[in-house]
Amino acid sequence: MGFLDALLGRTKPVQPKLDNLFGLPSAAVTLQVATDFRATGTGSVCFRAAEGKAFSDIEHDVRDLLNMGQNKTPVDVSEDSYGFTWLVCHHSPDDVEGLVTDLHAVNSSLQDGGFGPQLLCTIVSFRDGGGRRLGLVYLYKRGTFYPFAPQQGERRDNATELQIRGTLGEDLKIEPDLSRWFPVWGAPGL
Protein backbone atom coordinates (compact mmCIF):
# COMPACT_ATOMS: atom_id res chain seq x y z
CA MET A 1 0.00 0.00 0.00
CA GLY A 2 1.35 3.35 -1.02
CA PHE A 3 2.06 6.40 1.09
CA LEU A 4 -0.90 8.27 -0.36
CA ASP A 5 -3.27 5.38 0.32
CA ALA A 6 -2.20 5.31 3.96
CA LEU A 7 -2.47 9.08 4.23
CA LEU A 8 -5.97 9.10 2.80
CA GLY A 9 -7.05 5.95 4.59
CA ARG A 10 -7.84 3.85 1.57
CA THR A 11 -7.00 0.18 1.44
CA LYS A 12 -7.70 -1.61 -1.76
CA PRO A 13 -8.54 -5.29 -1.27
CA VAL A 14 -5.64 -7.48 -2.32
CA GLN A 15 -6.18 -9.53 -5.47
CA PRO A 16 -5.20 -13.20 -5.22
CA LYS A 17 -2.29 -14.74 -7.09
CA LEU A 18 -3.58 -17.93 -8.67
CA ASP A 19 -0.82 -19.23 -10.92
CA ASN A 20 1.63 -20.62 -8.38
CA LEU A 21 -0.97 -23.24 -7.50
CA PHE A 22 0.07 -25.22 -10.58
CA GLY A 23 3.36 -26.15 -8.93
CA LEU A 24 1.47 -28.66 -6.75
CA PRO A 25 1.57 -31.75 -9.02
CA SER A 26 5.36 -31.73 -9.23
CA ALA A 27 5.55 -31.07 -5.48
CA ALA A 28 3.39 -34.14 -4.89
CA VAL A 29 5.84 -36.24 -6.91
CA THR A 30 8.79 -34.81 -4.98
CA LEU A 31 7.08 -35.60 -1.67
CA GLN A 32 6.42 -39.15 -2.84
CA VAL A 33 10.07 -39.65 -3.76
CA ALA A 34 11.69 -37.93 -0.80
CA THR A 35 9.27 -38.70 2.05
CA ASP A 36 6.50 -41.07 3.09
CA PHE A 37 3.78 -38.54 2.41
CA ARG A 38 1.26 -39.39 -0.34
CA ALA A 39 -1.49 -37.18 -1.71
CA THR A 40 -4.93 -38.25 -0.52
CA GLY A 41 -6.63 -36.75 -3.54
CA THR A 42 -8.52 -34.31 -1.35
CA GLY A 43 -8.17 -30.60 -1.66
CA SER A 44 -10.16 -27.63 -0.44
CA VAL A 45 -10.66 -23.98 -1.17
CA CYS A 46 -11.42 -21.69 1.74
CA PHE A 47 -12.99 -18.29 1.23
CA ARG A 48 -14.88 -15.66 3.18
CA ALA A 49 -18.37 -15.53 1.78
CA ALA A 50 -19.51 -11.97 1.16
CA GLU A 51 -23.05 -11.06 2.04
CA GLY A 52 -25.64 -10.50 -0.66
CA LYS A 53 -27.08 -12.28 -3.64
CA ALA A 54 -24.19 -11.62 -6.01
CA PHE A 55 -21.88 -13.83 -4.02
CA SER A 56 -24.35 -16.62 -3.30
CA ASP A 57 -25.16 -16.83 -7.03
CA ILE A 58 -21.49 -17.33 -7.84
CA GLU A 59 -21.15 -19.88 -5.07
CA HIS A 60 -24.02 -21.91 -6.52
CA ASP A 61 -22.54 -21.70 -10.00
CA VAL A 62 -19.21 -23.02 -8.73
CA ARG A 63 -20.87 -25.99 -7.06
CA ASP A 64 -22.87 -26.79 -10.17
CA LEU A 65 -19.77 -26.47 -12.31
CA LEU A 66 -17.82 -28.97 -10.24
CA ASN A 67 -20.70 -31.40 -9.78
CA MET A 68 -21.50 -31.48 -13.49
CA GLY A 69 -17.91 -31.72 -14.75
CA GLN A 70 -16.94 -34.69 -16.88
CA ASN A 71 -15.45 -36.67 -14.01
CA LYS A 72 -18.21 -35.63 -11.61
CA THR A 73 -16.05 -34.52 -8.71
CA PRO A 74 -17.94 -34.92 -5.46
CA VAL A 75 -17.89 -31.60 -3.68
CA ASP A 76 -18.60 -31.04 0.00
CA VAL A 77 -19.48 -27.60 1.21
CA SER A 78 -19.16 -26.61 4.83
CA GLU A 79 -18.90 -23.49 6.90
CA ASP A 80 -16.49 -23.40 9.82
CA SER A 81 -16.99 -21.70 13.16
CA TYR A 82 -15.22 -18.56 11.91
CA GLY A 83 -17.74 -18.03 9.12
CA PHE A 84 -15.44 -19.16 6.33
CA THR A 85 -16.75 -21.47 3.61
CA TRP A 86 -14.83 -24.57 2.54
CA LEU A 87 -15.36 -26.34 -0.78
CA VAL A 88 -13.78 -29.79 -0.55
CA CYS A 89 -13.05 -31.71 -3.76
CA HIS A 90 -12.26 -35.43 -3.81
CA HIS A 91 -10.20 -37.01 -6.57
CA SER A 92 -8.29 -40.26 -6.85
CA PRO A 93 -4.95 -40.01 -4.99
CA ASP A 94 -2.84 -40.15 -8.17
CA ASP A 95 -4.78 -37.39 -9.92
CA VAL A 96 -3.28 -34.30 -8.31
CA GLU A 97 -3.41 -32.47 -11.61
CA GLY A 98 -7.17 -32.98 -11.94
CA LEU A 99 -7.58 -31.78 -8.37
CA VAL A 100 -5.58 -28.63 -9.02
CA THR A 101 -7.62 -27.97 -12.17
CA ASP A 102 -10.84 -28.18 -10.15
CA LEU A 103 -9.47 -25.93 -7.42
CA HIS A 104 -8.41 -23.44 -10.04
CA ALA A 105 -11.92 -23.47 -11.50
CA VAL A 106 -13.27 -22.38 -8.12
CA ASN A 107 -10.67 -19.63 -7.84
CA SER A 108 -11.22 -18.20 -11.26
CA SER A 109 -15.02 -18.27 -10.90
CA LEU A 110 -14.76 -16.19 -7.73
CA GLN A 111 -12.22 -13.87 -9.26
CA ASP A 112 -14.26 -13.36 -12.43
CA GLY A 113 -17.22 -12.44 -10.25
CA GLY A 114 -15.13 -9.74 -8.58
CA PHE A 115 -14.72 -11.66 -5.34
CA GLY A 116 -11.04 -12.60 -5.70
CA PRO A 117 -10.14 -10.74 -2.47
CA GLN A 118 -12.44 -13.13 -0.55
CA LEU A 119 -10.15 -16.13 -1.21
CA LEU A 120 -8.22 -17.16 1.91
CA CYS A 121 -6.32 -20.35 1.16
CA THR A 122 -6.28 -23.71 -0.55
CA ILE A 123 -5.22 -26.88 1.25
CA VAL A 124 -4.15 -30.08 -0.47
CA SER A 125 -3.83 -32.93 1.96
CA PHE A 126 -1.21 -35.64 2.28
CA ARG A 127 -0.81 -38.62 4.60
CA ASP A 128 2.08 -40.93 5.40
CA GLY A 129 2.12 -44.65 6.22
CA GLY A 130 1.82 -43.98 9.93
CA GLY A 131 -1.31 -41.87 9.46
CA ARG A 132 0.38 -38.52 10.06
CA ARG A 133 -1.41 -35.68 8.35
CA LEU A 134 0.14 -32.93 6.27
CA GLY A 135 -1.53 -30.08 4.48
CA LEU A 136 0.12 -27.89 1.89
CA VAL A 137 -1.54 -24.55 2.41
CA TYR A 138 -1.55 -22.06 -0.44
CA LEU A 139 -1.93 -18.42 0.59
CA TYR A 140 -3.69 -16.65 -2.25
CA LYS A 141 -2.63 -13.14 -1.37
CA ARG A 142 1.04 -14.05 -1.00
CA GLY A 143 1.16 -16.63 -3.79
CA THR A 144 3.14 -18.86 -1.44
CA PHE A 145 2.79 -22.27 0.19
CA TYR A 146 3.52 -23.50 3.68
CA PRO A 147 3.28 -26.95 5.24
CA PHE A 148 0.84 -27.51 8.09
CA ALA A 149 1.13 -30.75 10.07
CA PRO A 150 -1.57 -30.89 12.74
CA GLN A 151 -1.35 -33.32 15.63
CA GLN A 152 -3.79 -34.35 18.31
CA GLY A 153 -5.01 -31.56 20.56
CA GLU A 154 -4.27 -28.52 18.41
CA ARG A 155 -0.52 -28.95 18.36
CA ARG A 156 1.52 -28.84 15.22
CA ASP A 157 4.53 -30.90 14.25
CA ASN A 158 7.02 -28.14 13.56
CA ALA A 159 9.86 -30.58 12.84
CA THR A 160 7.94 -32.18 9.99
CA GLU A 161 6.86 -28.79 8.68
CA LEU A 162 10.44 -27.51 8.53
CA GLN A 163 11.59 -30.76 6.94
CA ILE A 164 8.93 -30.40 4.24
CA ARG A 165 10.01 -26.82 3.66
CA GLY A 166 13.49 -28.09 2.88
CA THR A 167 12.17 -30.86 0.64
CA LEU A 168 9.86 -28.68 -1.44
CA GLY A 169 11.99 -25.56 -1.64
CA GLU A 170 12.68 -26.11 -5.32
CA ASP A 171 9.19 -27.12 -6.43
CA LEU A 172 7.09 -24.52 -4.67
CA LYS A 173 7.43 -20.96 -3.56
CA ILE A 174 7.47 -21.45 0.22
CA GLU A 175 6.32 -18.59 2.45
CA PRO A 176 9.58 -17.18 3.90
CA ASP A 177 7.91 -15.38 6.83
CA LEU A 178 7.25 -18.08 9.45
CA SER A 179 4.83 -15.82 11.32
CA ARG A 180 2.45 -16.19 8.40
CA TRP A 181 2.27 -19.96 8.69
CA PHE A 182 -0.98 -19.69 10.57
CA PRO A 183 -2.65 -22.89 11.77
CA VAL A 184 -5.94 -24.03 10.23
CA TRP A 185 -7.28 -26.33 12.91
CA GLY A 186 -10.03 -28.66 11.86
CA ALA A 187 -9.77 -27.74 8.20
CA PRO A 188 -12.30 -29.87 6.29
CA GLY A 189 -10.67 -32.51 4.12
CA LEU A 190 -7.35 -32.43 5.95
Partner: protein, 325 residues
Amino acid sequence: MARTRYASDPGLTARMGVTMFLLGAVLTGFVIALYFVLFAYADRHGGGSGGSDGLVIISVLIGLAIAVGGYWFSDKIALSTARAQVVTPQQAPQLHQIIDRICALADMPKPRVAISPMGVPNAFATGRSSKVAVVCVTQGLLQRLDAKELEGVLAHELSHVAHKDVAVMTIASFLGIIAALLVRMGFYHDLFGGGGRRGGHNNNGGGYTALIMLAVMAVGIVTYAISFLLIRALSRYRELSADRSGALLTGQPSALASALVKVTGDMARIPTRDLRQAEPLNAFYFTPALSTKGSVHNLFSTHPSLDKRLAQLEKISRQLGSSAG
Protein backbone atom coordinates in the same frame (compact mmCIF):
# COMPACT_ATOMS: atom_id res chain seq x y z
CA MET B 1 -7.05 -7.37 -14.99
CA ALA B 2 -9.44 -9.08 -12.63
CA ARG B 3 -12.77 -7.55 -11.88
CA THR B 4 -12.94 -5.73 -8.64
CA ARG B 5 -15.87 -4.87 -6.46
CA TYR B 6 -13.83 -2.32 -4.62
CA ALA B 7 -15.24 1.15 -5.04
CA SER B 8 -13.42 4.04 -3.44
CA ASP B 9 -15.34 6.84 -1.82
CA PRO B 10 -14.09 10.03 -3.51
CA GLY B 11 -16.20 12.21 -1.21
CA LEU B 12 -14.61 10.82 1.93
CA THR B 13 -11.12 11.00 0.42
CA ALA B 14 -11.70 14.61 -0.60
CA ARG B 15 -13.02 15.64 2.83
CA MET B 16 -10.03 14.01 4.49
CA GLY B 17 -7.63 15.68 2.07
CA VAL B 18 -9.19 19.10 2.68
CA THR B 19 -9.04 18.61 6.46
CA MET B 20 -5.35 17.73 6.32
CA PHE B 21 -4.66 20.64 4.00
CA LEU B 22 -6.40 23.01 6.42
CA LEU B 23 -4.38 21.61 9.31
CA GLY B 24 -1.23 22.36 7.34
CA ALA B 25 -2.53 25.84 6.60
CA VAL B 26 -3.25 26.47 10.29
CA LEU B 27 0.27 25.32 11.15
CA THR B 28 1.72 27.73 8.61
CA GLY B 29 -0.47 30.55 9.90
CA PHE B 30 0.56 29.73 13.45
CA VAL B 31 4.27 29.93 12.64
CA ILE B 32 3.86 33.16 10.66
CA ALA B 33 1.77 34.82 13.37
CA LEU B 34 4.30 33.88 16.08
CA TYR B 35 7.14 35.11 13.93
CA PHE B 36 5.52 38.51 13.47
CA VAL B 37 4.51 38.87 17.09
CA LEU B 38 7.98 38.03 18.40
CA PHE B 39 10.16 39.73 15.81
CA ALA B 40 8.08 42.84 15.46
CA TYR B 41 8.77 43.34 19.12
CA ALA B 42 12.44 42.40 18.95
CA ASP B 43 13.04 44.85 16.08
CA ARG B 44 11.55 47.72 17.95
CA HIS B 45 13.38 47.06 21.18
CA GLY B 46 16.72 45.77 19.98
CA GLY B 47 16.36 42.11 20.87
CA GLY B 48 14.91 40.65 24.01
CA SER B 49 11.24 39.89 23.73
CA GLY B 50 10.74 39.62 27.44
CA GLY B 51 11.26 35.86 27.46
CA SER B 52 8.37 35.05 25.16
CA ASP B 53 10.59 33.69 22.41
CA GLY B 54 12.18 31.37 24.96
CA LEU B 55 8.69 30.38 25.93
CA VAL B 56 7.89 29.44 22.34
CA ILE B 57 11.06 27.36 22.02
CA ILE B 58 10.37 25.55 25.30
CA SER B 59 6.77 24.90 24.24
CA VAL B 60 7.88 23.46 20.91
CA LEU B 61 10.50 21.26 22.58
CA ILE B 62 8.08 19.95 25.20
CA GLY B 63 5.40 19.49 22.55
CA LEU B 64 7.86 17.56 20.41
CA ALA B 65 8.81 15.39 23.39
CA ILE B 66 5.16 14.66 24.18
CA ALA B 67 4.32 13.84 20.57
CA VAL B 68 7.40 11.67 19.95
CA GLY B 69 7.01 9.95 23.32
CA GLY B 70 3.33 9.34 22.73
CA TYR B 71 4.08 7.99 19.29
CA TRP B 72 6.95 5.80 20.35
CA PHE B 73 5.25 4.34 23.42
CA SER B 74 1.68 4.43 22.07
CA ASP B 75 1.29 0.68 22.41
CA LYS B 76 2.63 0.55 25.98
CA ILE B 77 0.64 3.58 27.14
CA ALA B 78 -2.62 2.30 25.68
CA LEU B 79 -2.11 -1.23 26.97
CA SER B 80 -1.33 -0.12 30.50
CA THR B 81 -4.24 2.34 30.57
CA ALA B 82 -6.55 -0.48 29.55
CA ARG B 83 -4.76 -2.88 31.95
CA ALA B 84 -4.42 -5.20 28.98
CA GLN B 85 -2.21 -8.26 28.68
CA VAL B 86 -0.72 -9.56 25.44
CA VAL B 87 -2.03 -13.09 24.93
CA THR B 88 -0.46 -16.04 23.10
CA PRO B 89 -2.30 -18.28 20.61
CA GLN B 90 -2.53 -20.91 23.38
CA GLN B 91 -4.26 -18.48 25.74
CA ALA B 92 -6.79 -17.16 23.23
CA PRO B 93 -6.91 -19.57 20.29
CA GLN B 94 -10.17 -18.32 18.80
CA LEU B 95 -9.18 -14.66 18.83
CA HIS B 96 -5.81 -15.49 17.26
CA GLN B 97 -7.44 -17.59 14.55
CA ILE B 98 -9.78 -14.77 13.58
CA ILE B 99 -6.88 -12.31 13.37
CA ASP B 100 -4.71 -14.84 11.49
CA ARG B 101 -7.36 -15.13 8.84
CA ILE B 102 -8.04 -11.43 8.49
CA CYS B 103 -4.29 -10.84 8.11
CA ALA B 104 -4.06 -13.58 5.46
CA LEU B 105 -7.00 -12.02 3.58
CA ALA B 106 -5.47 -8.57 3.75
CA ASP B 107 -1.87 -9.73 3.23
CA MET B 108 -0.58 -7.84 6.24
CA PRO B 109 1.79 -8.88 9.05
CA LYS B 110 0.05 -10.13 12.16
CA PRO B 111 0.00 -7.69 15.07
CA ARG B 112 0.23 -8.72 18.71
CA VAL B 113 -3.04 -9.55 20.38
CA ALA B 114 -4.07 -8.31 23.82
CA ILE B 115 -7.09 -8.71 26.06
CA SER B 116 -8.19 -6.11 28.58
CA PRO B 117 -10.21 -7.24 31.61
CA MET B 118 -12.50 -4.21 31.35
CA GLY B 119 -16.22 -4.80 31.13
CA VAL B 120 -16.79 -1.99 28.64
CA PRO B 121 -17.32 -3.63 25.25
CA ASN B 122 -14.59 -2.08 23.14
CA ALA B 123 -11.49 -2.65 21.05
CA PHE B 124 -8.52 -0.60 19.95
CA ALA B 125 -5.43 -0.90 17.81
CA THR B 126 -2.24 1.02 18.47
CA GLY B 127 1.52 0.93 17.95
CA ARG B 128 3.76 3.08 15.82
CA SER B 129 4.21 0.61 12.96
CA SER B 130 2.56 -2.53 11.72
CA LYS B 131 5.50 -4.52 13.10
CA VAL B 132 4.92 -3.51 16.72
CA ALA B 133 1.20 -2.92 16.40
CA VAL B 134 -1.10 -4.44 18.97
CA VAL B 135 -4.81 -5.10 18.71
CA CYS B 136 -6.67 -5.17 22.00
CA VAL B 137 -10.20 -6.24 22.82
CA THR B 138 -11.95 -6.03 26.17
CA GLN B 139 -13.56 -8.94 27.97
CA GLY B 140 -16.85 -7.09 27.64
CA LEU B 141 -16.56 -7.20 23.87
CA LEU B 142 -15.68 -10.89 23.78
CA GLN B 143 -18.70 -11.68 25.94
CA ARG B 144 -21.19 -9.66 23.92
CA LEU B 145 -20.29 -10.32 20.29
CA ASP B 146 -20.50 -13.51 18.25
CA ALA B 147 -17.64 -14.66 16.01
CA LYS B 148 -18.81 -12.78 12.91
CA GLU B 149 -19.31 -9.50 14.72
CA LEU B 150 -15.97 -9.88 16.46
CA GLU B 151 -14.37 -10.45 13.08
CA GLY B 152 -15.96 -7.23 11.80
CA VAL B 153 -14.62 -5.23 14.75
CA LEU B 154 -11.14 -6.73 14.39
CA ALA B 155 -11.10 -6.00 10.64
CA HIS B 156 -11.94 -2.37 11.51
CA GLU B 157 -9.05 -2.23 13.98
CA LEU B 158 -6.61 -3.88 11.58
CA SER B 159 -7.59 -1.28 8.99
CA HIS B 160 -6.48 1.38 11.47
CA VAL B 161 -3.11 -0.38 11.57
CA ALA B 162 -2.93 -0.60 7.77
CA HIS B 163 -3.81 3.10 7.45
CA LYS B 164 -1.05 4.00 9.95
CA ASP B 165 -3.57 5.97 11.96
CA VAL B 166 -1.36 6.30 15.03
CA ALA B 167 1.27 8.12 12.97
CA VAL B 168 -1.25 10.25 11.11
CA MET B 169 -3.09 11.31 14.26
CA THR B 170 0.15 11.97 16.16
CA ILE B 171 1.38 14.31 13.47
CA ALA B 172 -2.04 15.96 13.26
CA SER B 173 -2.22 16.43 17.04
CA PHE B 174 1.27 17.89 17.30
CA LEU B 175 0.13 21.40 16.40
CA GLY B 176 -2.67 21.31 18.95
CA ILE B 177 -0.29 20.15 21.68
CA ILE B 178 2.14 23.00 21.04
CA ALA B 179 -0.61 25.62 20.91
CA ALA B 180 -2.10 24.36 24.18
CA LEU B 181 1.31 24.31 25.86
CA LEU B 182 2.05 27.83 24.70
CA VAL B 183 -1.17 29.15 26.18
CA ARG B 184 -0.65 27.33 29.44
CA MET B 185 2.99 28.37 29.80
CA GLY B 186 2.20 31.95 28.87
CA PHE B 187 -0.38 31.91 31.63
CA TYR B 188 2.06 30.62 34.27
CA HIS B 189 4.76 32.97 33.02
CA ASP B 190 2.47 35.94 33.59
CA LEU B 191 1.44 34.69 37.00
CA PHE B 192 4.82 33.81 38.47
CA GLY B 193 7.82 34.66 36.34
CA GLY B 194 6.93 37.71 34.28
CA GLY B 195 6.82 40.43 36.91
CA GLY B 196 10.33 40.05 38.32
CA ARG B 197 12.35 40.59 35.15
CA ARG B 198 10.24 43.23 33.48
CA GLY B 199 12.01 46.31 34.63
CA GLY B 200 15.45 44.98 33.68
CA HIS B 201 15.57 45.90 29.97
CA ASN B 202 14.03 49.30 29.89
CA ASN B 203 11.29 51.21 31.55
CA ASN B 204 8.67 50.74 28.84
CA GLY B 205 9.48 47.04 28.50
CA GLY B 206 6.96 45.87 31.05
CA GLY B 207 3.91 47.03 29.18
CA TYR B 208 5.16 45.76 25.83
CA THR B 209 6.16 42.41 27.28
CA ALA B 210 2.72 41.90 28.72
CA LEU B 211 1.24 42.83 25.36
CA ILE B 212 3.50 40.43 23.48
CA MET B 213 2.66 37.69 25.93
CA LEU B 214 -1.03 38.34 25.42
CA ALA B 215 -0.59 38.25 21.64
CA VAL B 216 1.32 34.96 21.79
CA MET B 217 -1.39 33.50 23.99
CA ALA B 218 -4.09 34.76 21.63
CA VAL B 219 -2.34 33.12 18.67
CA GLY B 220 -2.09 29.92 20.71
CA ILE B 221 -5.76 29.95 21.68
CA VAL B 222 -6.99 30.55 18.14
CA THR B 223 -4.66 27.89 16.73
CA TYR B 224 -5.70 25.42 19.38
CA ALA B 225 -9.41 26.00 18.78
CA ILE B 226 -9.18 25.60 15.01
CA SER B 227 -6.79 22.65 15.07
CA PHE B 228 -8.92 20.93 17.71
CA LEU B 229 -11.95 20.97 15.44
CA LEU B 230 -9.89 19.86 12.44
CA ILE B 231 -8.26 17.00 14.33
CA ARG B 232 -11.64 15.78 15.53
CA ALA B 233 -12.98 15.93 11.97
CA LEU B 234 -9.94 14.03 10.71
CA SER B 235 -10.44 11.41 13.41
CA ARG B 236 -14.06 10.91 12.34
CA TYR B 237 -13.02 10.48 8.71
CA ARG B 238 -10.36 7.96 9.70
CA GLU B 239 -13.03 5.98 11.56
CA LEU B 240 -15.30 5.95 8.52
CA SER B 241 -12.36 4.82 6.39
CA ALA B 242 -11.56 2.01 8.80
CA ASP B 243 -15.22 0.92 8.82
CA ARG B 244 -15.20 0.90 5.06
CA SER B 245 -11.95 -1.02 4.60
CA GLY B 246 -12.86 -3.47 7.34
CA ALA B 247 -16.27 -4.18 5.83
CA LEU B 248 -14.82 -4.70 2.35
CA LEU B 249 -12.10 -6.94 3.77
CA THR B 250 -14.48 -9.42 5.37
CA GLY B 251 -17.24 -8.89 2.82
CA GLN B 252 -19.65 -8.60 5.73
CA PRO B 253 -20.64 -4.97 6.30
CA SER B 254 -23.79 -6.04 8.13
CA ALA B 255 -21.82 -7.99 10.75
CA LEU B 256 -19.86 -4.84 11.58
CA ALA B 257 -23.10 -2.83 11.66
CA SER B 258 -24.62 -5.32 14.06
CA ALA B 259 -21.55 -5.14 16.29
CA LEU B 260 -21.76 -1.33 16.29
CA VAL B 261 -25.40 -1.38 17.29
CA LYS B 262 -24.76 -3.88 20.08
CA VAL B 263 -21.76 -2.03 21.47
CA THR B 264 -23.32 1.42 21.26
CA GLY B 265 -26.55 0.23 22.80
CA ASP B 266 -24.65 -1.30 25.68
CA MET B 267 -22.76 1.94 26.32
CA ALA B 268 -25.82 3.59 27.81
CA ARG B 269 -26.09 0.99 30.55
CA ILE B 270 -22.53 1.10 31.83
CA PRO B 271 -21.85 2.44 35.31
CA THR B 272 -20.14 5.84 35.46
CA ARG B 273 -17.01 4.64 37.20
CA ASP B 274 -16.06 2.52 34.23
CA LEU B 275 -16.83 5.34 31.86
CA ARG B 276 -14.41 7.67 33.59
CA GLN B 277 -11.68 5.06 33.57
CA ALA B 278 -12.17 4.51 29.88
CA GLU B 279 -12.13 8.18 28.92
CA PRO B 280 -8.42 8.82 28.15
CA LEU B 281 -8.33 6.06 25.55
CA ASN B 282 -11.28 7.25 23.53
CA ALA B 283 -9.32 8.36 20.49
CA PHE B 284 -8.19 4.85 19.66
CA TYR B 285 -11.38 3.07 20.55
CA PHE B 286 -13.82 1.31 18.33
CA THR B 287 -16.63 3.44 19.75
CA PRO B 288 -16.15 6.09 22.39
CA ALA B 289 -17.39 5.21 25.84
CA LEU B 290 -19.20 8.52 26.27
CA SER B 291 -22.19 9.31 24.22
CA THR B 292 -24.37 12.37 24.16
CA LYS B 293 -26.79 13.70 21.63
CA GLY B 294 -26.72 16.88 19.61
CA SER B 295 -24.95 18.45 16.68
CA VAL B 296 -22.39 20.35 18.77
CA HIS B 297 -21.33 17.03 20.20
CA ASN B 298 -20.96 15.67 16.65
CA LEU B 299 -18.56 18.49 15.81
CA PHE B 300 -16.38 17.75 18.84
CA SER B 301 -16.47 13.98 18.88
CA THR B 302 -13.68 11.65 17.81
CA HIS B 303 -16.09 9.18 16.23
CA PRO B 304 -18.84 9.67 13.66
CA SER B 305 -22.40 9.16 14.82
CA LEU B 306 -23.84 5.66 14.77
CA ASP B 307 -26.32 6.69 12.07
CA LYS B 308 -23.55 7.84 9.75
CA ARG B 309 -21.56 4.68 10.26
CA LEU B 310 -24.59 2.46 9.68
CA ALA B 311 -25.56 4.40 6.56
CA GLN B 312 -22.12 3.90 5.07
CA LEU B 313 -22.14 0.18 5.86
CA GLU B 314 -25.57 -0.21 4.26
CA LYS B 315 -24.25 1.42 1.12
CA ILE B 316 -21.30 -0.99 0.98
CA SER B 317 -23.67 -3.90 1.54
CA ARG B 318 -25.77 -2.82 -1.42
CA GLN B 319 -22.67 -2.48 -3.59
CA LEU B 320 -21.48 -5.97 -2.65
CA GLY B 321 -24.88 -7.51 -3.30
CA SER B 322 -25.57 -5.98 -6.69
CA SER B 323 -24.92 -8.48 -9.46
CA ALA B 324 -23.71 -5.70 -11.75
CA GLY B 325 -20.59 -5.40 -9.59
